[in-house]
Amino acid sequence: MQKALDRVVDAIDIETFLYAADEEEARTLAEKLAAELNLPYGDVVFFEYKGMGARVRIRSYIHRPGDHYRWLERESLE
């Protein structure tokens, strides 16, 4: 059976709260998180630092426009 990840049409958003001492550290952590999860192309699309840390949304493109989409391969369609 095909992997669930192959059925992601375009992107995965990870939304979380990162504990961080300041805004700069929170940004660094947000950028590192996608790489630590082995997700490609992590873009921070939302960031708001307040109090103890930052609420962040990181968008990772599993299939970018112009790719060969795995969800379009024969196995997905059968």
Binding site: V9, D10, P65, G66, D67, Y69, L72, E73
Partner: protein
Amino acid sequence: MKKVLLAPLDPVHDNAVKLLKRKLSEAGYEAIAMRPGVTSEEVIEKALEERPVAILVSRTLGYKVAETLGRLVDLAEASGLREMTRLGVGGMAITKETGGELGFDACFTGELNMTEVLAFLEGRPIGLQAAGHAVAERQKPDIVRGFTYEFKDKEIEALLDRITDQVLEWVRGKTSPGIERAKLRAEMLAEGISLRSPEEVSPAQQRLREQYLRLCDDTMRAFYLADKLPAGVRWLGAAEIEAMERLLESAKARYAPLRYAGEKPLFFCQYGTGCPVMDVMHIKAAEAWGVDGVLHFDPSWGAQCEGLLEGYLSHEHDGTVLTLENLQFIRHAQEAATLWNVRGHRGLNTPETQVLGHAAGADLFKIIFLMAARQEALIRSG
């Protein structure tokens, strides 16, 4: 906020009414729920007080169904309520035949189907699917119905007419490579040829091609004369296009309308990922959620090059490549009721974009006319 009166004409059962009240509130209606065991007289009295757009009654128990519901309909008639309020009925004891015979405007059977209920409240037609679930029939909206060019303020109308006349006078006799290419493209479409079509063409048709290429920049000439694609662009393979056809065939959209009251506003979703296959996936998702239309968006280098490409092409950056084949592929994937707007992004190919959009079956165009005209003028003046 429109009111709906919910009445369980049943001694004890009011679960459906509670659920309906919540769903209608979420849909933006003021849903007034009466208690179980309420009489027909009390329902009519409450309706005359609240003036709802509809009364929805439910009945679970099977005895005295006709008498109870029939009395409600008779009282609604006698009180004059039916001139402004429509009557709907549902519940375990109700069949389509019962509701129709008793004179209700709508009859809901089986599980609660909000699409059906909202279609009734909004005055839209209700159809039937093969599976027996009622769904709203989807019609392509007529976006200009009820509008004219007439202005209430005649002074503003006169000023706008003057501005329009000045613009038309200013552009009279002017042209640009973009306008000339659009004319040539229209001629090629009429002749049934393109720049890359392999069949033999007549000398006159060959001249159209040569004239078009003379008006293109180096990027476009390299594409047509040396098979060189612009950076970030690739051909879509036949296997990808066929796979997408199979995917579309296997997944038919079931709509959940976004709009809960009246015919306006219309909801549009803009796409333009760069890849027509990805665009189609986005369009299908948007259609399933109930959008009325989609907007084709091409803000990329295509607006800055002299000339347009041909064929099924994918692009790895924002802005789906404007070709007749890409546009036809996208149109073919849309539901018949979806409004399609091809945006002529201001730039060097605005006129030809309209020609291609029209040929591919676009319903609407968005052109920033003054900006485009100004830009053309700047090009001409160097």
